[in-house]
Structures are given as structure tokens and as C-alpha cells.
Amino acid sequence: MATLGSMAQLIRSKNAGPWMLTVDIMFSDAETYRHVVSTGVITAALVEDMFGVPSGQVEIFEYNPANAIKISFPRSRPNGHPLDTDLFGGQQFAPLVDLEIPDLR
């Protein structure tokens, strides 16, 4: 087992407009990327479990040209709302860093 944070070259989050958040998980090589994808760990159900976002509102993309997995889901509130906690959405990925990725058999 290794953590996602130890395998990725970059994990980041950012606003995608005022209403959406997007998380990019990027790998330096196709092999690691393929491995993480093939474990099937990163799913809408995981995002629901981790952040409490209903899985029906979560979109996950595999983006081969950049060896990247993208996760997009609605913000709790639009950015800058009086109750918003992260104006740029830049820290919303944090719990994913320690996610455990199983070894392939």
C-alpha cells in the first residue's frame, strides 16, 4: 500500500467557476497513472464518503494526455459566500493525499 500523495506528482484543487470545485490528480508517468486508475479506488462513492458530497453530483474523468484523474463536484456554497471557507478552492483536495492505494496483485 502506498498513499496517493506519494504516487502523484501533483494533487490540487481549484474553483471551476464560482459554483464548482475541481480536483486534479496528476502522475509523472503513464504506468503509475494506469495503476491508480486500475485499482478502481477513486470513485464517486469514495468522494461521497470522504467529503459528504452526494455521489450523483460527482464527475470523474480519466485524462490520458496528461496522465491525470479529474474529480469535479459542486461547492458547498459559491466562492466568497459569507459562509464559504475557501475563496479559491485551493485546499479542498487535502484529505485525498493520504488515501491508500492498493498494490496490484
Binding site: K14, N15, A16, G17, P18, W19, M20, T22, D24, M26, D49, M50, F51, G52, V53, Q57, E59, F61, Y63, P65, A66, N67, A68, K70, S72, P74, S76, P78, N79, G80, H81, P82, L83, D84, T85, D86, L87, F88, Q91, Q92, A94, P95
Partner: protein
């Protein structure tokens, strides 16, 4: 072969770039220069509160270089989403800076100013006609929202820019614009194909961000051709690679394969990124599917005034059973506020407590927890109908929690380490984004008005 060449000197006007690299790139023969000035990342206050994002000095420095270069080579200069939000106030603020520079440099040119705040009666009429469509997620709206909201802007497509260029504008200053439309307008007006034009624009709107290592911001050069586009960083020490350009399709976009624009959708499923020699990357296979013409709206509504206080807590006697203590302290503080102000006034306020060190960044979405902390910070944010009330409530809450009893100690305690004075900070007026909708228009210029000035 027909090509259009252009430069995006910086990802956001005022972000800074090296003048020499920009001037040098212009010498190579460039058809136009465009720069984005907008962002919603600063929240609704830029639109609602008539505020700029980048400072006057930073904007003026960048604009001066771009303007001098563009006029020297007699090529158009386009600025999109002027002043951050692209509202009328923000547009005019940039227009004033342009006039200052023109006077100081003795420049003369024709300016088009494109306002992006639609007429409210027109919006209400379209709403009644059922021509609004919610995006996901969208708040519920009604006619009142369209009338009452402090500022509403429409995100223009390329057509208002093209109209301005066709009417002889040397400089186009636009209110809220689709970032990609700003860079697509000129190539489209020259008949370049939509696929490479739009995709290139999407890359170029961030200046030279699609490079391998962004040590300092520099610009990007783009060549749009019939069946590909090619990008080259302006910084001689910067390189782009197929990976760095491909990766840029991820940035700030919810979907890396589909990007909606006013008149259609970019399809990036079958794109190939290849090295093109030197520091350049060539991109093929980008498609643009025309669709119904819609304009996305952004609205910033005034919601009150805010004040805040931040205090750190390091006392183990509090932190050993922090939740119980905080619940008691909050109850005690709100009792004190109600005793002083009365229940009616207090009900008009929204009080938000945040605990840093635990879930200050993620709020209720934070799944992680710890048994024990050696330091936490408490942030109290109060939203109220007046600034005075917001500060009064914040002050009473802070003062009560500061001295709130800690069960293990006997006698008067001071529980909050304030990092700076004053401990109660006025945040001023607060706004909220209230629209995430598109509206169908009769034609691309319907929500926008263009006026021309000679300088």
C-alpha cells in the same frame, strides 16, 4: 497557408511580464495582442462592490507596455473582463487607466468599450419567456432576483469583439467576456477554423501558464493554422511540452473534454499534442461543435456587512475537552449579546464560528480528526444589516469568550491570543453570487452595448 499569430503577454492583466520578451516577440510579426483581466476567484465582492482585483499601479505598468507595443506595430489590442469582474464600474476604471497612459505617451487611437451589464427589463422579459436555463448547481431565482441584484453581467462571446474590430477599433476594452472568446474573436473574424481557434484560445487565456515550470509569469505566442495550432513560451528560459499543454486543459475546468462557450462546445476527445521543435508544441484534432447561442450570467447580490475576530487558543485545560468548552462559551457569548442588544437585533445577524487547526479550510466536508490539539484558532464571522451591528456583536462575542470560565481553573482567565490589534476587524459590505444560469439570446450582441471613443 493562412495563419493568425498572436500573443497573450500575461495570464491576468497586472500579473507582470518581461517587457523585452514581449517587444521581441512582436518583431516576429503578430496580428493582435489580447489579455484577460478577469477572475471570479476573488468572490462576488469585485462585481458587487465595484472593486478591482489587481492594483492600479500593476495594471498600468502592464497596460503601458502592451499598448506601446500594439500601437508601434499597428495591431489591435483586446482586453477582456476588464477590472476583474467586467462590470461597468470595472470597465470604466480600466478605461481611465488607458486614457492616463495615452496622455503620458502621446498615443492616439480608436477605442471600443463594450459594456456587459444587461438591461434588467430585458432580462426580466427573457425570464418570463422561459429563456433562462439553470446550470449545475444553480440557486432558485425569480424576477425579483433579476431586479434587485446589485450587479449582473453577461459573459460575452467573440461577436462583440469582432463587431468592434470591424468598426475600426484599435483597442477593445470589454466587460465580462468568456476568456476563450477574447482570444478567438480575431482568428474567427479572419475565417480561421473554430476547432483550433477555440482550443488555442483556451490555452492562451492563462498567458504562459502552460509551461513545464512556471518560475515567473511570462507570455505565450500562438499560431493558429487551418488544422492545428502551435504555442511557444515568450520567456527564453521557459519550455512547453505536450504534457504541459495537455495538462492545461485541466486547469479551472470541470470537464477536460467538453468546454461550453456562448455559441457551442469545445470537444477535446481526440486531441494530439506533439513537440514542434524548439520550445513549441503543436496541437491537432481540436473540435468545436456549434450549438444554441446562450450567454452565461453572473450576479452579485448585497447581503449585509461583516466583521470578524481571530483568536488562538493554546491552553491544554481548554483543548482537552474543546468541543464541550466551545459549546458552553458560544452559548454564554450569545446570551451576553442578546442581553445587550435584544433578541430581535441578534436574530438579524448570522454568526459563523470556525475552528482553524481542525476544519477551518474544509468546514463540514473535513473527514479527518485528531484526538488532541496543542493549538487551535477560533474565527468568528458576523454578518449583519449594518457594519456597526456586525462589529458590536463580534466584539461582545469575542470579549465573552476571551474571559469565559475554564472548568479546571478558578478565577478570571483570558482564553484568546489575538494575533493583531484591533481584534475586531471590519470586513465591509458582503456579497453573494446568486446566478448560475444561461440565457438564450436573439443574437450574440443582444445583451451588450458598444461605444467608440477617439483618443
Amino acid at each position: 497557408m493562412k495563419t493568425v499569430k498572436y500573443i497573450s503577454p500575461v495570464g491576468m492583466l497586472g500579473g507582470g511580464f518581461t517587457a523585452e520578451y514581449f517587444y521581441e516577440a512582436l518583431e516576429g510579426g503578430v496580428d493582435f495582442v489580447a489579455v484577460d483581466s478577469g477572475s471570479t476567484d476573488g468572490g462576488p465582492i469585485n462585481l458587487g462592490g465595484d472593486k478591482y482585483i489587481m492594483s492600479h499601479a500593476a495594471i498600468k505598468r502592464d497596460l503601458r507596455i502592451i499598448l506601446i507595443g500594439a500601437r508601434r506595430h499597428r495591431i489591435p489590442m483586446l482586453v477582456g473582463s476588464c477590472g476583474g469582474s467586467g462590470g461597468n464600474w470595472n470597465l470604466n476604471w480600466i478605461w481611465e487607466i488607458v486614457q492616463e497612459i495615452a496622455a503620458e505617451e502621446g498615443l492616439h487611437f480608436r477605442v471600443a468599450l463594450i459594456e456587459a451589464e444587461p438591461d434588467r427589463e430585458l432580462l426580466v422579459r427573457k425570464y418570463r419567456e422561459g429563456r433562462f436555463r439553470p446550470l449545475q448547481p444553480a440557486p432558485d431565482i425569480d424576477e425579483d432576483v433579476l431586479v434587485r441584484t446589485r450587479r449582473i453581467v453577461g459573459m460575452m462571446g467573440p461577436e462583440p469583439f469582432i463587431e468592434a474590430l470591424n468598426n475600426g477599433a484599435d483597442v477593445v476594452l470589454a466587460g465580462r467576456s468568456s476568456d476563450a472568446a477574447l482570444f478567438s474573436a480575431f482568428p474567427l473574424s479572419k475565417g480561421m477554423p473554430a476547432g483550433p481557434t477555440w482550443h488555442a484560445a483556451k490555452i492562451l487565456e492563462c498567458g504562459g501558464a502552460a509551461v513545464d515550470q512556471m518560475v515567473k509569469p511570462e507570455g505565450m505566442h500562438c499560431t493558429v493554422a487551418e488544422d492545428y495550432f502551435e504555442v511557444t513560451p515568450l520567456g527564453p528560459d521557459q519550455t512547453s511540452s505536450p504534457l504541459s499543454v495537455a495538462a492545461h486543459a485541466l486547469y479551472e475546468t470541470a470537464n477536460p473534454y467538453r468546454m461550453a462557450e456562448p455559441g457551442g462546445v469545445m470537444h477535446l476527445d481526440d486531441v494530439q499534442y506533439e513537440k514542434a521543435g524548439g520550445r513549441s508544441v503543436r496541437v491537432r484534432g481540436s473540435r468545436f461543435e456549434p450549438g444554441p447561442y446562450t450567454i452565461k450570467l453572473e450576479g452579485a447580490d448585497f447581503v449585509g456587512y461583516r466583521s470578524q475576530m481571530l483568536g488562538a487558543i493554546a491552553d491544554p485545560a481548554i483543548l482537552d475537552d474543546f468541543d464541550t468548552w466551545l459549546d458552553d462559551a458560544k452559548a454564554g457569548a450569545e446570551f451576553a449579546a442578546e442581553r445587550t442588544l435584544g433578541a430581535d437585533l441578534l436574530r438579524e445577524c448570522v454568526i459563523d464560528y470556525r475552528v482553524f487547526g481542525r476544519n477551518g479550510a474544509l468546514g463540514s466536508r473535513e473527514p479527518r480528526s485528531q484526538e488532541r490539539y496543542h493549538e487551535l484558532a477560533l474565527l468568528i464571522l458576523v454578518l449583519a444589516p449594518t457594519q456597526e451591528l456586525a462589529s458590536t456583536v463580534t466584539g461582545i462575542l469575542a470579549q465573552t469568550i476571551l474571559h469565559f470560565a475554564v472548568p479546571r481553573w478558578k478565577g478570571l482567565v483570558s482564553n484568546l491570543a489575538y494575533p493583531a490589534a484591533p481584534q475586531v476587524v471590519e470586513l465591509g459590505p458582503a456579497y453573494n453570487f446568486v446566478l448560475n444560469h444561461v440565457v438564450e439570446v436573439d443574437h450574440p450582441l443582444e445583451l451588450f452595448s458598444i461605444r467608440y471613443e477617439e483618443i
